[in-house]
């Protein structure tokens, strides 16, 4: 799976939602990009993603990849944040029967998985219902 350097490189995005944006197209990119795919602008400004949004689609993973075995079954969704950024993440603290398109959610900091018994611990964002 992941390695310490690969994990470390994504820390700004995963821990605190660092993004960037094209001022010309008024579009925010998460993860940050080096070039705006729409207009070719390379002068992108630092930005942060919103911490709230709503569920666009969701599923419940019953057959998980091995690092996620202990968590299954769990919900994964695509969320559109208030700033228009769309991201994927687990939706936790929500009974499966309450999952629906349009559900308001907010970001919480969670442990994503462990690298076996002795490897690094991998953290990041998940979504919880925003009541």
């Amino acid at each position: 799976m992941t390695t310490p350097s690969r994990y470390w490189r994504e820390i700004p995005q995963r821990y605190r939602g660092e993004a960037n944006s094209c001022e010309k197209c008024k579009k925010k990119f998460f993860p940050p990009r080096l070039i705006c795919p729409k207009c070719g602008n390379r002068d992108l400004a630092k930005a942060k993603i919103a911490d709230k949004g709503k569920v666009l689609s969701f599923t419940i993973i019953r057959v998980p990849p091995s690092p996620f075995k202990d968590q299954a079954p769990y919900a994964v969704g695509i969320v559109e944040l208030k700033d228009g950024v769309k991201i994927m993440g687990q939706i936790v603290e929500c009974d499966f029967k309450d999952l629906k398109v349009g559900l308001p959610v907010k970001i919480e900091f969670r442990k994503m998985f462990k690298e076996g018994h002795s490897g690094i611990l991998c953290y990041g964002y998940k979504f919880v219902p925003d009541s």
């Binding site: 603290e93 919480e108 969670r110 442990k111």
Partner: protein, 348 residues
């Protein structure tokens, strides 16, 4: 004057009732409920640990503090359940808040006292002028051995405090520490569960240090129990804080707002700090608050706080501790609890 500029709490939503644990071990639930005044405790999900709870509690503290995280010069997490044996928890917290790289970070461990240790050091760095703001967090996902008395209380939660000199919601008027070497509770390296000295954890350990710290601090400050609107003691079970209060001359109404243990359990390093958050949630400007922690090993830290008028402005900028505790609960059966707490032996 320096003091708390923002505070925040975090408690996982999972709970397990005393009856559910007692059922598994053939124990007498009513005696635990009456004897230890415990009803249920919080349980972390598999994706929650000291680090994740510290981040969420600290985010709540920052909402109330309204400061730029880059101005935080010190980040300390006190816990006896740091997820790594070697590798700091505080660096994750500092990164998640956006306080890096000009920040001093350390992890504290002193059984249940580590949280107030972090607060103590953060406060004193602010006081000395070494940092503009300091963050002290108490957090734990405590483990009691299956079937042990501790299993009924060992819980999970976090409380975070930002200290500064401007816009404080509670001034820290005085501090005190009282410590001896007393082996009442310990966990050796590579051991999964802690061990304890049974009744030895009471009089010579908890009560001696809690009352010693409270008396010493009040004497130092020239104050008496009646001068305080509220007092928070470390809460290993429901009974101990009330008994300590009686010994010192505090009344039930002074203790109750910060007494969360019956519904929360013992959150170890988060215990008395969480009690402080729920007390700040209801305190009025001018109120004096006494906070006395306890950590086995053993020692107590004491703080005298005076609430300012700013409390009214910031209180509702983050969730209130009693609301977090009472809302959105998810009750677990023992099997699920055992799975969440990794008490089940599995294949690789």
């Amino acid at each position: 004057m320096e003091g708390i500029v923002g505070y925040g709490a975090y408690i996982p939503r999972n709970r397990i009732k005393v009856e559910e644990i007692a059922k598994v071990w053939g124990a007498d639930a009513p005696s635990y409920k009456k004897g230890l005044m415990l009803e249920e405790k919080s349980v972390p999900s598999p994706d929650q640990d000291t680090i994740t709870m510290s981040v969420e509690a600290s985010k709540n503290a920052l909402k109330r503090a309204g400061i730029d995280p880059i101005d935080i010069g010190a980040v300390y997490i006190g816990s006896e359940s740091h997820p790594y044996a070697v590798k700091p928890s505080g660096t994750v917290l500092a990164e998640a808040l956006g306080a890096t790289p000009e920040v001093h970070t350390a992890d504290f461990e002193f059984a249940c006292k580590a949280g107030t240790e972090g607060m103590f050091v953060a406060l004193n760095l602010v006081k000395s002028g070494a940092v503009k703001y300091g963050l002290g967090v108490g957090a734990d996902t405590s483990q009691g051995a299956p079937g042990d008395a501790l299993e009924y209380s060992a819980a999970a939660g976090a409380a975070a405090f930002v200290f500064g000199k401007k816009n404080v919601v509670a001034e820290v008027l005085d501090t005190y520490a009282y410590m001896t070497d007393t082996p009442d509770f310990w966990r050796r390296e590579y051991e999964y569960y802690p061990q304890h000295g049974g009744r030895f954890t009471g009089e010579p350990a908890y009560f001696k240090h809690v009352t010693g710290a409270a008396r010493g601090l009040m004497k130092k400050a020239g104050m008496k129990p009646q001068d305080f609107s509220y007092v928070i003691f470390h809460q290993p079970n429901g009974k101990f804080p009330f008994k300590a209060g009686r010994k010192l001359g505090f009344s039930k109404p002074q203790i109750e707002p910060g007494w969360l243990v019956n519904k929360l359990g013992n959150t170890y390093s988060g215990s008395s700090p969480l009690g402080l958050t729920s007390t700040l949630d209801i305190a009025k400007p001018g109120d004096h608050i006494l906070l006395i922690s306890y950590g086995s090993g053993a020692g107590s830290d004491g703080f005298i706080l005076k609430v300012t008028s700013r409390i009214e402005d910031v209180r509702n900028l983050a969730p209130l501790t009693r609301d977090i505790l009472d809302q959105n609960k998810n009750y677990l059966e023992y099997g699920e609890y055992a799975k969440f707490r990794e008490k089940i032996r599995k294949a690789d």
